[in-house]
Subunit: 393 residues, 2 copies
């Protein structure tokens, strides 16, 4: 009776969201303090104080809640352009920036503006699994390329092997969800040189679609290389869900590099899509709020403490895991091959984890540690018991 | 280089938005008070006081800006369900309500959840032209049926003639954009009887998709018949863009009637689409705000004064126009056939109107009168001059 393909696919819906809903169920059953929910990247920190101050300021402003241009408020776009210019050294104008309803909206818009039917988009696994749906929404074909096994860094040779004359874009996500790994400057410079060589060879353009909601969350002073400064055909998609802890408000932007040929045409196509795909414009109030707070970020030091607490304990009880340099995820190797089964076992200890299969990478689980430190500390004995169950300690 | 179909279509982009952008240009050139911009339904009234009070209350609330279920906050959905139950007499539960980023998002989601490839969606002309894009986004085929010429009421016989075994939905929009006409109870009851007969005859289900952002804007005590109470397979899409003057904030809902067979499955499909199409969830803060203000609406009395001021003057100087009972649009018959040419002539008098062609109805122009009364009053001499130019007075 309804969209048949969709209805049939409902069972295979997001493993992340399924775990999130399971968590809500268990919390009602056992009490919120007895459930250790690491399922979703839903920061339980509050937005920085500056955000609340901006909110208080703007709710008094007349005319704020009206329609504006589909691209967003011009002053907001100018501020974002100035900020990115300062960060990257690439001169961007307001015209290169489109305010959008979060990064998910931004990716859908950018992909649809780029792709002709059947063109290929490369995703680097492990990856945020909704990328596949977004590519499908835009009529593209996903090509999955694995990262290097020990480091989760981009495997430049593997990417090169997968490039065809149909390759239109490569989605990069660093700091990475789910691994927390930051792609190194060396890796990205190699990728860039290889892409330029392939573009020359094939006579095509290959776009870097940089999904970077975690760009401000990095530890120990490690560099997060600026994508605009490295890649010529670079499109940034960002949101303030993580950097300002505002995931429920759906506020983000797309920035297309001024070095892209005919970038004005590309931007116009994206502005048009913002309307026709049903987004219309990014929420007005939060456009103004984020424009005041581009240099503000949540306290990464507190995330680092959470990472260290959890990471050190997991290693101590015998698990193995690449140490994440950014974002707020740990990608744990499962002691058995079947990561879904491992997650079911974890649920018995009230631990909610997400199978790596949901990120195109079986044999792992993702642990989102953007939660209250006391919950993380209370969960440690449950992780110990889980390790014991597999004879790790 | 980019999506070719899209880039080629850019010139044919929304006439409404084109006029809006032209208005911004002229205002910079001549000064805002010299330009009479009737192009876009962008209320220049402020949201009711209650909205600001709610905003002030909620920005203090901890945890408000986090992700919630993709369907929206449960308490908000429950309040909307209770409100609609009270209005319609049809018992709705929170599960039947999905909070969305405005009505444009809601229509895209509902259409995609309904349609299998090639199924038909009927639109009643004149109509909001983006419907065609939304139907295309969902893989459907639009079928346009004209209203009755003198009244802009639904022509039930014409709808019946256009129904095939592929007809999946009919989009209704009352009070109507662009005509301001409210579909009468008698018309809707006739439509319902005819649809039930056709469903029986064809063995199909035909859904009513009621796009009703103007439902609370009606004049002179005229009835806006409740669609849920009339149609069994009814899906309401609503937003607070007009009723609370919040178009920039993108907040609305979808409500699927509890009388739809397998409505839970349909709702689950829509919740999943909210995520996969990139909307994720409706903005958190404004979900809470609207839930407090479901019974609140902007001052329709002031809109009525605007309508009367403009309508009476237009008739006085010789134009003809169906008197609108709701929304905030006048749909004026143009004295020449070419409505685009008429609009160009109007621009010479600094009057920004939108050609009826942009609503599937050539020979008319839409005048959005949701603006400051003093601007409307200042514009009257320009309308007189326009009428004189065509020898109407």
């Amino acid at each position: 009776m309804f969209n048949q393909k969709l209805v049939e696919g409902l069972g295979k819906s997001s493993m992340i969201r399924a775990m999130f809903e399971e968590g809500e169920r268990l919390k009602k059953l056992y009490g919120a303090d007895k459930v250790f929910d690491f399922s979703i990247g839903n920061p339980d920190v509050e937005p920085p104080m500056e955000v609340q101050e901006s909110l208080r300021k703007y709710i008094e402003e007349p005319g704020l809640h009206r329609y504006m241009s589909n691209a967003g408020f011009t002053d907001v776009r100018q501020k974002v352009a100035d900020y990115l210019t300062r960060k990257s050294g690439v001169a961007l104008k307001a015209d290169h920036v489109i305010m959008v309803c979060g990064a998910a909206a931004g990716l859908n818009i950018a992909l649809k503006a780029l792709l002709n039917p059947g063109e290929e988009v490369m995703v680097i696994s492990p990856f945020f699994v909704e990328y596949l749906t977004y590519i499908d929404n835009a009529g593209g074909v996903p090509v999955i390329v694995k990262t290097q096994k020990e480091t989760f860094q981009v495997d430049v040779d593997a990417v090169e092997d997968a490039i065809t004359y149909k390759t239109k874009a490569i989605i990069l996500n660093s700091p990475n969800n789910p691994t927390g790994v930051i792609y190194s400057r060396k890796t990205l410079e190699n990728l860039k040189s290889m892409i330029e060589r392939k573009e020359e060879e094939l006579g095509t353009d290959i776009f870097i679609l940089s999904d970077e909601p975690y760009v401000s969350i990095a530890y120990d002073g490690i560099e997060v290389p600026n994508m605009l400064s490295i890649f010529k055909n670079c499109i940034i998609v960002n949101s303030f869900s993580k950097s300002l802890a505002l995931p429920g408000e759906r506020i983000g932007y797309i920035a297309a590099s001024s070095r892209i040929m005919d970038v004005e045409l590309f931007a116009a196509a994206m502005v048009s899509l913002n309307r026709t795909l049903g987004f219309v414009n990014a929420p007005a109030l939060f456009q103004k709020v984020i424009a005041d707070n581009l240099d503000v970020a949540v306290d990464t030091e507190s995330y680092k403490i959470k990472r260290d607490t959890l990471y050190n304990h997991l290693l101590k009880v015998g698990f193995s895991c690449v140490k994440p340099d950014g974002a707020f995820y740990l990608f744990l190797k499962t002691p058995i091959e079947d990561d879904a089964l491992f997650c079911s076992t974890a649920v018995k200890h009230n631990l909610l984890l997400v199978p790596g299969t949901g990120f195109g990478c079986p044999g792992y689980v993702r642990i989102a540690y953007c939660y209250d430190l006391s919950m993380i500390e209370r969960s440690l004995p449950a992780f110990t018991k889980l390790a014991q169950e597999y004879g790790l300690c």
